[in-house]
Symmetry: C3
Subunit: 174 residues, 3 copies
């Protein structure tokens, strides 16, 4: 059978889905590396975020989440299922994820693993897709068992929240 | 160096991979939100599914999996690695995933986390990619420790299996 | 609003990102199915890999990782966030993942779950994207609790490291 011909609208949708997916991934990078400008750039200036007990504007969200992040030694927001449905200049994007938090102390509230979904309304403005409205849905919360946590062996490269993280080196070598 | 020119067949393959990936993601959404029509639409009418102890047709699978799903308060099928290899109107698609099940009781058999792979044969018929044959491969099964599960704090948005889930609201606001 | 026109460079970037993502996914398949040629084909011949305590060339990495893999009954490298940033013939690719290892014995060192990131420098040579430099970053390490592991019920299809794995059957049926 002949493969179906390609309509330009199909390619446009593909590019839009990719652009939107990358915003979600840059958000995760921004949170985990604590790159505030990167997180900010994922939202339109008038965006709102509903995140657990929090509800507010982009700037309020940044202030709130940064206070939380500072209590952790590290975080990892692994996301999977990224289903993006654009309709013109608006899109629905659902993302499944697991967040791993390691506290600066053994306080169990700071050592949680959570299953979540980001449910986002994206809007394209001036050619750029960003979050206009995010609702973070909690699926489950589990306490990390400190007795089962292994120290990362000395000499192993680990993640950082500053310019020493490995991702900032990749393109600097030739 | 000059970037390689783009062949139409490359774009066709890209669109096919995207279409197939979205079927897998819609399947997960359909299961987790218990949207039966959505799950049904992922399979060709004569498709078969081999799922753990189950082996049968699309309709038999739907009946079987719905009986299971009703025993849970919620499920979350997070998928990662989605490697799609189309060859004409047939494609091999492998998907890695983790499924989190929360039972309606503390029965450990209803509170399992499983690592799995979906190994799918997709076929394009009348221009539409759907599953023709699925084999679900189990990688590992772990019992969830109820003592480590934290209740989702009141006031936090959680997932639902009906029209109250957040994904049904995204496009309704303007 | 009119959807933005499509520039060929956008499509080229999309194809490059897809090609690079598939290398990462083939790497995971190669490791988990123990397909040595598949893993080898993900790297340029002069590539280097920094992997926990290991640092060396492609061939040294293969020798090292195969010795490790043989101690396990199975492994599963689930990856999510795959953020690829091509700049001409070079690209930065970051991948988040979780690796599940099941040892041939109950030795806790062989039954670990790890959170990691692959931080890769890809290069396109003779039209083909492959890893030129990989740094594996460890985010966390957890010991699997043997008491919570459930045996995979008899009759359930499970993963294999040879031609009996389900992925090798998909395209052979018609």
């Amino acid at each position: 059978m002949e493969a179906p011909a390609i309509a330009p609208a199909e390619l446009r949708a593909l590019l839009d889905k990719q652009a939107i997916s990358e915003v979600v991934l840059r958000y995760c990078r921004g949170i985990d590396r604590m790159d505030r400008e990167l997180v900010r750039s994922c939202y339109h200036p008038d965006a709102s975020d509903s995140h657990g007990s929090f509800e507010g504007s982009r700037e309020e969200f940044l202030a709130w989440v940064w206070r939380l992040l500072e209590r952790y030694e590290s975080s990892m927001h692994l996301v999977g299922n990224l289903l993006v449905e654009p309709v013109g200049d608006v899109a629905r994007a659902e993302t499944y994820g697991i967040a791993f938090h390691r506290g600066r102390s053994e306080d169990p509230r700071l050592n949680l693993v959570t299953g979540f979904r980001y449910v986002d309304r994206f809007e394209r403005r001036a050619g750029e897709w960003r979050i206009a409205r995010r609702v973070a849905v909690t699926e489950w919360v589990r306490q990390d068992d400190p007795a089962r946590r292994w120290p990362i062996p000395a000499g192993m490269r680990r993640g950082a929240r500053d310019a020493s993280d490995a991702i900032y080196e990749v393109l600097s070598h030739s």
